[in-house]
C-alpha cells in the first residue's frame, strides 16, 4: 500500500515537473523568438565548432546588429562557404576574432576546446550511433 502511494506521488510530481518545463519554455519562446535557440555547429574547415546565440545574447549582452551582417552574414553556412573561415582569419580580427581578441572576449588562440567540440561533440549532438562507445 505504501509502495503504491509512493508511485502515485512520484507520477504526480513528474507530471507537475513536465508541465512546469513546458510552460517555462513557452514563456521563453514568446519573449525571445528572435534568434536561433539551437546552437550552430560549424564543420568547415574542421569538425566541429559550436556557436550558441543564447550565450552571446543573454550572457554577453550582444544583439543582432553586433554581428549581422558585418561580421557574419545572417544566412546560415555563409562563413563556411567563404573559404577563409580559419583560425588565421580570426587572428586577423575577422569573424569570431572581431571580439575574441583577448580584449573584448578571450583570445582566439586560447581555450581551444571551449568552442571546438570535436568529432565526439558533433556525434553527441547529432546522436550518431556508436558515439557512446568512443567516449570510454
Amino acid at each position: 500500500m505504501k509502495k503504491k502511494l509512493a508511485i502515485l506521488l512520484g507520477i504526480m510530481m513528474m507530471s507537475l515537473g513536465v508541465q512546469g518545463i513546458i510552460s517555462l519554455s513557452l514563456a521563453e519562446d514568446d519573449e525571445e523568438a528572435d534568434y536561433p535557440t539551437e546552437p550552430i555547429v560549424f564543420t568547415q574547415p574542421v569538425k566541429a565548432v559550436v556557436f550558441d546565440h543564447k550565450i552571446h545574447i543573454e550572457d554577453a549582452g550582444l544583439d543582432c546588429d553586433s554581428c549581422h551582417d558585418d561580421i557574419f552574414e545572417q544566412a546560415a553556412g555563409t562563413a563556411e562557404e567563404n573559404g577563409d573561415f580559419t583560425m588565421k582569419s580570426l587572428y586577423e580580427g575577422k569573424y569570431c576574432g572581431a571580439c575574441h581578441d583577448g580584449d573584448t572576449a578571450f583570445a582566439s588562440n586560447t581555450r581551444c576546446a571551449v568552442c571546438h567540440i570535436g568529432v565526439m561533440g558533433y556525434n553527441r549532438m547529432h546522436k550518431v550511433e556508436g558515439a557512446e562507445s568512443e567516449e570510454h
Partner: protein, 250 residues
C-alpha cells in the same frame, strides 16, 4: 633533528623516492631536493622557483639513434580526428580497433566551472615496455635501433597478455591479421620510406603532435622537452615503463 645535523648527512638523491610520492609534494607546492636516511628525512624547497619540471621522467641518456619520440601539446587538440583518419588510412586499421585515439574530459577551472579537454593517446613506446616483458613468444619487441615497440605478427599467438599489461590501452586484436596490432610510429608505412613524420603528426592541423628524434638536440621534440620553464609530463609514470610520449601545454 637539527638543520646542522641534516647538513652533515649524505644526500641519497630524490631519484630513489617513488614519483608518486614526489607528485604529492608537488601538489603542495614543494619539490623534493634530497632524500636522507632512507627517505625518513626529506629536503624540500618551494616549487615556485623551480623552472621546467619533468614529472616522473628520467632524462639521462637516450639509448636509441634515432630515439623516436612524440610530444603532445595537449591543450591545442580540438578532436578534429584527422590524425585518426590518417592513421586508419595509412595503417589499414579496422573500425573495431585503433592505433591512436582521442580521449575527452571536463577539467575543473573554477568553482562550478569546467572546461573541455581533449587528450590524444597512442602507444608510448616505453623504454621499459610492460607488453614486451609479458609476451610469451617475443612477438612484440623493442627495436634495437629506433626504440619503437614493434610487432612480429607471425609470432603472435593472440593471447592478449600484452593488451592486459599495457598501461596505455594502446593495443587491439586485429581479426584479419589474427594478431595483436598497435602503433609503430608508422615505421613500415612511412619512416622506412623516408618520411620524417608519422601519419597522425603530418595530418594534425593544430600542430599538437610533434614527432622526432629525441637524441637530436636540433629536433623539435628535444627542444620542447628541454625548454626551461616548460612543464612536461608522461602518463602513468608510476608504472616505471618510461614512456617516450610526452605531454605538455602551450
Amino acid at each position: 633533528m637539527k638543520i646542522e645535523d641534516l647538513e652533515k648527512m649524505r644526500n641519497e638523491g630524490p631519484e630513489s623516492l617513488p614519483s608518486e610520492e614526489r607528485r604529492k609534494f608537488l601538489k603542495m607546492g614543494l619539490v623534493v631536493t634530497g632524500v636522507f636516511a632512507g627517505g625518513s628525512v626529506l629536503s624540500l624547497t618551494s616549487a615556485r622557483n623551480v623552472y621546467g619540471m619533468l614529472e616522473g621522467i628520467q632524462l639521462k641518456h637516450y639509448p636509441y639513434k634515432p630515439h623516436y619520440s612524440m610530444v603532445i601539446r595537449q591543450d591545442r587538440c580540438i578532436d578534429c580526428e584527422r590524425c585518426k583518419e590518417a592513421c586508419v588510412k595509412t595503417n589499414n586499421v579496422p573500425e573495431y580497433g585503433y592505433r591512436t585515439t582521442i580521449l575527452e574530459r571536463e577539467i575543473p577551472i573554477g568553482p562550478e566551472e569546467t572546461q573541455r579537454e581533449f587528450m590524444p593517446v597512442l602507444c608510448n613506446h616505453c623504454n621499459q615496455p610492460p607488453c614486451v616483458r609479458v609476451c610469451p613468444t617475443k612477438a612484440t619487441y623493442k627495436d634495437k635501433k629506433t626504440g619503437i615497440v614493434m610487432m612480429n605478427y607471425k609470432k603472435c599467438i593472440g593471447c592478449k597478455t600484452c593488451m592486459a599489461a599495457c598501461p596505455y590501452n594502446a593495443r587491439y586484436f586485429n581479426e584479419e591479421k589474427r594478431a595483436i596490432d598497435k602503433c609503430n610510429f608508422c615505421f613500415d608505412t612511412r619512416l622506412s620510406k623516408g618520411e620524417k613524420l608519422t601519419a597522425c603528426a603530418a595530418a594534425c592541423p593544430a600542430d599538437v603532435r610533434i614527432f622526432g628524434d629525441l637524441s637530436d638536440p636540433e629536433s623539435r621534440v628535444y627542444k620542447l622537452i628541454h625548454e626551461p620553464e616548460r612543464v612536461v609530463w608522461v602518463l602513468r609514470p608510476e608504472t616505471g615503463a618510461m614512456p617516450n610520449v610526452y605531454y605538455t601545454k602551450g
